[in-house]
């Protein structure tokens, strides 16, 4: 444990003396500024207030959608009112209006000649307060900035050590593989959590489940740090490594599209860990009552597996005898 603490202090100092770390920190500040000052609190311009399926509907703010399911989804996610016309029946889908309000609404919108087969009113579960437009992006920023710091910085520290030749000195010390991997993982679990909490506090405020947030961030940061090291061991220097991680990084960003455009959700995308992390942050910051147990347990399993893979790779490729000493 002393060993890990000694390494941790060393890695922390090296991190503070690395220019890229400060670039990432400035990015964090810029993100908070963006959320507050550059993204409007209300989405302006065309905004859907009514989602309709199965009939024509004149007027502004109306979106005709392709399926009844989509109507429900929009009611749930955007807090609009929905109308489904199916087999002559008319269903009003809402997420928490009084019966009188709905009846008044129906009377208002229905042309007089509409054959009034019974109107069903389907009330979805209680919807939360609508999330201000600028804050909807916060989960994206946290999942793709704070959690990713370790992915890049651990690799950069590691490749720096490789280039300076100090790993040879480490290999002839009692240090060992596990403390080496553990100190870097721990460092970025801490740094990632501090970053993520600062971003959340500075944007959303303090009213969310902080413990769930911390668990998710620690696991996510650990996982991405370990993943970053797993990749970095295959490279000798920072420039060749960088070429290889940019595509990986882009791939990892794909779930962002699913988050903004719900129709983009190919089945494989859920396998990208940032996907579940992203939706879990959304749920923690703007709760709708979904359980996060499965996300947390899957991420735990992935993190433990990543630790073993990373330790094995570091031992094999970084810390054991080779045909030549670099």
């Amino acid at each position: 444990m002393n060993r890990v603490m000694s390494l941790l202090r060393q890695d922390f100092k090296l991190l503070l003396r690395n220019a890229l770390f400060w670039v990432l920190t400035v990015a964090l500040v810029l993100i908070v500024v963006t959320v507050w000052y550059l993204i409007p609190r209300e989405q302006t311009g065309f905004e859907t207030r009514l989602a309709v399926y199965g009939m024509e509907f004149p007027g502004g703010g109306v979106e005709i959608v392709a399926s009844p399911g989509k109507v429900e989804q929009m009611v749930r996610e955007k807090g609009v009112l929905g109308i489904v016309r199916e087999d002559g029946a008319l269903t009003v889908v809402h997420d928490g209006l009084s019966k009188q309000a709905v009846t008044a609404f129906v009377a208002q919108i229905m042309p007089p000649q509409t054959p009034l087969s019974p109107i069903q009113i389907e009330r979805l579960r209680e919807a939360p307060q609508p999330v201000p437009y600028n804050l909807r992006f916060v989960p994206i920023f946290i999942a793709f900035e704070a959690v990713i710091v370790g992915f890049f910085m651990a690799a950069i520290l590691m490749l720096g050590e490789r280039q300076e030749g100090v790993l040879e000195a480490y290999r002839v010390s009692p240090g060992g593989v596990v403390p080496y991997v553990a100190s870097k993982s721990l460092l970025f679990a801490i740094v990632g959590t501090v970053y993520a909490l600062l971003m959340a506090f500075a944007t959303v405020g303090f009213v969310f489940n902080i413990w769930q947030f911390i668990i998710l961030t620690v696991l996510g940061s650990l996982f991405y740090t370990l993943l970053g090291m797993c990749v970095a061991v295959f490279f000798e220097d920072i420039s060749s490594w960088f070429l290889a991680v940019v595509p990986l990084w882009a791939l990892n960003m794909l779930p962002m599209i699913s988050f903004s455009v719900p129709t983009f959700s190919p089945p494989w995308i859920e396998w990208i860990p940032s996907y579940s992390a992203l939706f879990a942050y959304d749920e923690i910051l703007f709760p709708t009552g979904k359980s996060l147990l499965s996300v947390h347990s899957l991420l735990s399993v992935e993190t433990i597996a990543a630790f073993f893979v990373c330790a094995a790779l570091v031992k094999r490729r970084l810390l054991s005898a080779r045909g030549c000493v670099s």
Binding site: R3, S6, V166, V172, G323
Partner: protein, 284 residues
């Protein structure tokens, strides 16, 4: 005891050996010198012994423990100084030592005391990136000493040092021996080897060509000579005679003819012996 036997190493995998059939033993508490010109294979042998390079052929045993089976905790007893200084350039000298010391589970020396000893006290809080090559070399050596190792590997410890720093390095290595450490000293500096080593091995093109104590090597291979300084018409002149049969006769004849001012016996240096054995010098 460290026992190295039948060591070969091929870097490229084409049957060209950087090191061939190298065998030697080092007794506990001994300073063992590995002497040879650049490219002879000295660092290769040290790196195989410390486990940095894999053991392709042959064996390296620490008492009954093979280098293949070393565990991290073994390195509590070992110190290694590298030919190329390798320290964290973004950490200060002091931080480099403090964090390295934190890896050991045996008592370690006070980093500041060690830095002072290395003449780095005033630079202790400067980043190693601002150090000269010689200062980094001294820091690398300080790091090797921090755990008071039983077994010390020193690869060209005087490389990049000025003569006075090299002299204090020599004292430092002797102190390690007095402390009871076993030292494997790799160098192409024959004076250092001559002064420090209990035994030396001459390495040339990856092979050991001679191995003994410096005095035995001189006895076996050295030619003894005398040099005579005498007064000439133009002032002071000198002449050297090798003490073989011919030379002895020439020397006595010469003495009878001139007015000798001084007569010195000359011992062969390790360098001369190396040249005699290999046909090449140590420094080229």
């Amino acid at each position: 005891m460290i026992k190295v036997e039948g060591l070969y190493h091929d870097y490229v995998g084409k049957g060209e050996y950087a090191v061939s059939d190298v065998s030697f033993t080092i007794e506990r508490g001994e300073i063992f010198g590995f002497l040879g010109p650049n490219g002879a294979g000295k660092s290769t042998v040290q790196n195989i012994m410390t486990g940095l390079l894999d053991l392709q052929k042959g064996s390296v045993m620490y008492d009954d423990l093979s280098v293949r089976d070393l565990t991290p905790s073994f390195f509590n007893r070992v110190g290694v100084s590298f030919e190329q200084p390798n320290v964290y350039l973004r950490l200060t000298g002091l931080e480099n030592l403090e964090h390295f010391a934190g890896l050991f589970s045996v008592p370690t020396l006070d980093p500041m005391v060690l830095l002072e000893r290395m003449g780095l006290r005033d630079e202790a809080r400067k980043r190693a990136g601002e150090y000269s090559k010689g200062m980094r070399q001294r820091l690398t050596l300080a790091r090797a000493l921090i755990n008071q190792p039983d077994i010390l590997f020193l690869d060209e410890p005087t490389g990049g040092l000025d003569p006075s720093a090299a002299a204090s390095m020599r004292d430092l290595i002797l102190e390690q021996k007095e402390r009871g450490a076993t030292v494997f000293l790799t160098t192409h500096n024959m004076y250092l080897a001559e002064e420090l080593c209990d035994r030396v091995a001459f390495l040339e093109s990856g092979r050991i060509v001679a191995m003994d104590s410096p005095s035995n090597l001189k006895l076996k291979h050295g030619q003894h000579a005398v040099s005579v300084e005498y007064a000439d018409h133009d002032g002071l002149a000198s002449r050297t005679f090798e003490l073989d049969n011919e030379g002895k006769q020439a020397f006595t004849d010469f003495i009878a003819q001139v007015e000798p001012l001084t007569i010195h016996s000359q011992e062969a240096t390790l360098e001369q012996i190396f040249i005699k054995l290999t046909g090449r010098g140590l420094t080229q």
